[in-house]
């Protein structure tokens, strides 16, 4: 099974000045859009047609990343959570203005940064950290490690327990599931690449990764329930 691949229909033509334009036209037709962006665009279009569940998936996909981005500008975790929530509400209210000229997360992160900036200004604080955050950085922003939640001995212990449970469950998986899962989660390979490496169809890779996650999630379930009770 092939993954979703969308090719942009936009054509960019560059004409060099004072030179025969026919000779130097660089046609960048068929520039591919990443599968992530194509999926997000599909979810946005569904949200624009009134599907709140589709917007919910976008919230689930990006709330943690937005949380991590805002934590570079604001220290207090409860303030960060308020800003993240406000940002998503603003994004939802403006969803019909999103035309897909940029990736959804770039648009969302812009809203998040502006919301954080306004929040800091309203409190009379100078928004210092966001000066360094430019559009390129937003585009390339991946999950930062510095999630500035206030660590307590209890949360640290919980984190360690969850990490140990996941690692043990992953190690206990059948070899073909473990290999597919690690190639995806640790090395970040696409299903197509994993299928080539493992010499099997993409559908099999997809199934193996799902079964690996399902098995680990089962082991994790009691711990998550306990975590939810405590937190």
């Amino acid at each position: 099974m092939n993954s979703l691949k969308v090719v942009s229909k936009s054509t960019e033509v560059y004409n060099a000045p004072n030179v025969n334009s026919e000779a130097v036209q660089i046609n960048m037709e068929a520039r591919p859009i990443s599968p992530e962006r194509a999926i997000d665009q599909k979810l946005v279009e569904k949200a624009q047609k009134g599907d709140k569940q589709a917007f919910g998936i976008l919230v689930e996909k990006y709330q943690l990343k937005l949380n991590r981005l805002i934590s570079r500008m604001v220290r207090d975790q409860s303030e960060i959570e308020d800003i993240v929530q406000d940002s998503f509400i603003k994004a939802y209210r403006a969803i019909n203005n999103f035309r897909g000229d940029s990736a959804f997360y770039t648009w969302l992160y812009r809203i998040g940064i502006n919301t954080a900036k306004n929040h800091l200004v309203s409190l009379g604080r100078r928004p210092k950290a966001m000066d360094a955050v430019d559009i390129e950085e937003i585009e390339n922003f991946q999950d930062a490690q510095d999630l500035r939640s206030v660590e307590t001995p209890e949360t640290t212990m919980m984190n360690n327990q969850i990490t140990a449970t996941v690692n043990n469950a992953a190690e206990g998986l059948p070899d073909e599931l473990k290999q597919a899962f690690k190639l995806r989660e640790m090395d970040g390979h696409s299903y197509e690449e994993i299928a080539e490496m493992m010499g099997c169809p993409i559908g099999t890779v997809r199934s193996r990764i799902f079964r690996a996650r399902d098995a680990i999630a089962e082991k994790l379930k009691p711990l998550i329930e306990e975590t939810n009770k405590r937190w």
């Binding site: 969308v6 999926i39 665009q41 998936i57 929530q85 999103f98 035309r99 299903y191």
Partner: protein, 149 residues
């Protein structure tokens, strides 16, 4: 269903699978819960610090209070190309064609009538009758100037 969610989490899902995944109502929380669990597994395996709170439920509770966004949908060129077939324009085109034909028929009918009248005046009516007719119509000055006698 969860295999599709797992593919969605990896950005490896197909467009039509998103439609089928979201086709049933009230499935949103199940999808979000599964994705949350996969996110936790992913973060743990990569040694990332795990979040204390998952905000999605709180955010979605606030979004549910918002009016559904429907108006002002802006279709991109891509989406028009993918989702709209030429057959959707046919009823509109047929209506315009019908209006055009009706308009043309009425216009031509009027001009034919006017043309016939003109020919009749020029060829069939003697000139002295026309002069007498003009003399007695309201455009004659005598009609407007009235004297006391």
């Amino acid at each position: 269903m969860n295999e599709k969610i797992s593919s969605l989490f990896d950005n490896e899902i197909q467009g039509n699978e998103i439609d089928s995944l979201l086709s049933k109502k009230d499935r949103g929380s199940d999808i979000r819960e599964a994705m949350q669990s996969y996110q936790m597994i992913s973060d743990a395996i990569q040694g990332k610090r795990l979040p204390k709170n998952n905000l999605t439920d709180k955010i979605m509770a606030a979004i549910d209070k918002e009016p559904t966004q429907l108006s002002g949908f802006v279709a991109t060129k891509e989406s028009l190309g993918q989702n709209t077939s030429p057959s959707e324009y046919w009823p509109m085109a047929a209506s315009f064609a019908a209006l055009f034909v009706i308009g043309l028929t009425v216009f031509n009918g009027d001009s034919i009538k006017a043309g016939n009248n003109l020919v009749l005046v020029k060829s069939d009516i003697p000139e002295d009758i026309i002069i007498a007719h003009h003399a007695s119509t309201s455009t004659n000055m005598k009609y407007f100037i009235k004297t006391k006698d």
